[in-house]
């Protein structure tokens, strides 16, 4: 029982990070029909930007701020203007392929200019345990979970409770009508790219102390978050959150109770089941598109 509790907490902590990344997937899809296959590498890069800032002499807190700002500049603004905007007019598929190329480019660039070896990364959450319901739970797990949940709640509040959020939703749901009623659609789309960049930088900050900073570390994350987004519902932020948490827990329980050797297969099997029986995702809504 104690083992199950530990597994649930660890799974939720990892799942919360998957959720952050998956939310970014859904945001970009909703506002600009961008399927970003470089999303995993987007999580890998901010850690290296922060490490570079620290190597240049910046203290950790300043490196975090610089890393997040640089991520928003590179993975938000530059990504949209230099890759998404020029490729978008060619359709969804060429853009998706371009993001795959970007993923390879980012990995190779980090390998070339930083190192192919893993690097340690400091944790913003102190080590140690706290007792919850008689179980010792690590502060790191709780810290990761709390920060990720705060970020997701903050985003949900922004989308649902503010005028800016309503404009973003309007721009995502029907850009033509949104334009007519005076919503600056282009600016709203840019904002979602910046929010995505912020979320991946936060995910990077939380996961890298556990996974270590390595040029390949985005591969696992990108795949898990992509599965989470599809399982939860690609067109719903709440679906991505649920999908992330579910995949995190499922992965840990499968590794512990089924087999560690085939742990990666379990979320995949779950994904296939969802696609077969509920293609819109667990919390998603069915969409029809003209082909």
């Amino acid at each position: 029982m104690s083992n199950l509790f530990d597994l649930l907490v660890a799974g939720l902590a990892t799942g919360a990070i998957y959720a952050l990344v998956a939310v970014g997937f859904t945001l970009l899809w909703q506002t600009s029909q961008t399927i970003n296959f470089a999303q995993g590498e987007f999580v890998m890069l901010p850690a290296f930007l922060m490490l570079a800032a620290m190597h240049a002499g910046a203290p950790f807190w300043l490196a975090i701020i610089l890393g997040i700002l640089l991520s928003m500049l590179l993975l938000g603004l530059a990504f949209k203007m230099l890759l998404v905007d020029p490729m978008m007019r060619h359709g969804v598929l060429p853009l998706a392929i371009a993001t795959m190329a970007l993923a390879i480019g980012l990995k190779e660039a980090v390998k070339q200019f930083f190192s192919a070896e893993a690097s340690p990364f400091p944790s913003i959450v102190p080590t140690g345990d706290v007792s919850i319901l008689g179980h010792a739970v690590s502060l790191q797990s709780i810290g990761v979970l709390v920060l990720a949940i705060l970020a997701v709640f903050g985003l949900t509040a922004l989308l649902n409770r503010t005028s800016l959020g309503h404009q973003m939703q309007a721009a995502a749901q029907n850009p033509t009508v949104a334009r007519i009623i005076g919503v600056p659609v282009e600016r709203m789309i840019l904002l979602t790219f910046l929010i995505n960049a912020f979320l991946v930088a936060l995910a990077s900050l939380l996961i890298t102390p556990i996974y270590l900073a390595k040029f390949t570390s985005g591969e696992v994350l990108g795949q898990a978050a992509f599965i989470a987004a599809i399982v939860g519902g690609f067109n719903q932020v709440r679906g991505a959150i649920a999908g992330g948490l579910l995949i995190g827990v499922l992965d840990n329980l499968a590794a512990a109770y089924v087999t560690t050797q085939y742990r990666a297969a379990v979320p995949m099997i779950f994904l296939i089941a969802v696609i077969l029986f509920r293609p819109q995702g667990l919390l998603g809504r069915a969409e029809e598109r003209t082909v």
Binding site: E117, S138, Q140, L212, Q261
Partner: protein
């Protein structure tokens, strides 16, 4: 005037060609990227340092050493292609790879070409297949694991042991020997966990270890995964003592795992913290050149080159075909060849006999607790 310049240029070209022809060419295939990048980078740097030293002193039998480095990407398939390419250039000796899986698929190629292969792999089976051209730079698992099992049983007094291993040739080889030895000594394996190479998340594996409540945990993973599991073991508050091999308490693991590495123990065939003056001097030279402290793979690469030098000196000529026969049964003494760092004897199978160390990580540093002597 023109003819003088032309003659000078021709002379320079002829001299350069002659020096080039005299060089002894070595080929290295190592894990310069991918999961084994730490292994391969240290190995490569060790090789380069040794070659620089030897060439600065006039080379081997008056000939300079030259090496080409190729990246196996930590992938046995790529390693095989790179080794084939390297062998096509007819090197004097083949160096690497470091991963046992890559050695396993490349060793038949080198043997077929009749080229000696000096490698970093530690899987027991590598030198048990009758290959007459394969040589180790460190202990094979059949030499080290019985020492590890004995330490877990006798010194740690562990009756129940959790064994965590990486699911590849290296991990499986070590796991098989240690489980057999623990069983023979009377310690029970209460958890036998395989993990994947490159695995990032060890929460579930550590959860299983906690549930098994062992007296000791034997961890046998590659360096980066070792660091990740050490962090997770600390995160989940596992207090059972940790025992491993070189890959659990290497410099890179300590750097990556930070505080979580403290208290971990391991049997080490080679360590830069060994109480041996020549090794200390090597460590200083390496750190000065590369700005970091090498792990055992740096030592392996360095030793590989001095194995080439000592064997060639013994033959009195650079004869690629006679190299393997000369190295079999050879004892190289550090007093005669300081670059070999410790006295070493090579068996007829390419295995080595050398003193080894029992190490514990204390406050982020390897501390040698026991020196285990050479067997013969």
């Amino acid at each position: 005037m023109k003819s003088t310049i032309l003659a000078g240029a021709l002379l320079a070209f002829a001299t350069a060609t002659s020096v080039h022809a005299q060089a002894i060419k070595l080929a290295d295939v190592a894990e310069l990227s991918g999961g084994g990048a730490t292994v391969g980078t240290n190995w490569k740097n060790g090789i380069d340092l040794a070659i620089e030293e030897i060439n600065a002193k006039g080379g081997v039998l008056g000939r300079k050493l030259e090496v080409t480095h190729a990246d196996s990407q930590s992938n046995p398939g790529v390693a095989r292609a790179q080794v084939q390419k390297a062998l096509d250039a007819e090197p004097y000796v083949l160096l690497g790879p470091g991963y046992s899986g890559s050695v396993k698929v490349t060793a038949p190629l080198a043997a077929e070409a009749g080229i000696a292969q000096i490698m970093g792999g530690e899987a027991a089976e590598l030198t048990q297949a009758g290959n007459k051209f394969l040589f180790r730079t460190s202990f094979g698992q059949q030499s080290s694991m019985p020492k590890v099992a004995k330490y877990i049983h006798d010194d740690m007094k562990a009756k129940a042991v959790a064994v965590v291993w990486v699911n590849n040739d290296f991990g499986r080889g070590g796991r098989d020997v240690v489980v057999k030895e623990l069983d023979r000594l009377g310690s029970k394996v209460v958890a036998d966990l395989s993990t994947e190479a490159g695995q990032a998340d060890f929460a579930a594996d550590v959860g299983k270890i906690k549930a098994a409540n062992p007296d000791a945990v034997f961890v046998y993973l590659n360096e980066e995964e070792s660091a990740r599991i050490l962090k997770e073991l600390k995160r989940q508050g596992v207090t059972a003592p940790l025992m491993g091999e070189t890959t659990l308490i290497g410099q890179k693991v300590i750097e990556l795992a930070g505080d979580a590495a403290n208290g971990a123990r391991g049997h080490v065939g080679l360590t830069t913290d060994a109480p041996v003056d020549l090794i200390k001097a090597f460590r200083d030279k390496f750190a000065k050149k590369y700005n970091y402290v090498p792990d055992h793979n740096g030592l392996k690469g360095y030793l590989a080159i001095y194995m080439v030098k000592a064997t060639t000196d013994k033959m009195g000529k650079a004869d690629s075909k006679a190299f393997a026969d000369t190295l079999h049964g050879l004892t190289i003494k550090a007093a005669d060849e300081p670059g070999i760092l410790m006295d070493v004897t090579f068996s007829d199978t390419g295995d080595i006999d050398r003193q080894s160390f029992l190490v514990e990580v204390v406050e982020g540093k390897q501390v040698v607790k026991q020196v285990l002597p050479k067997v013969k």
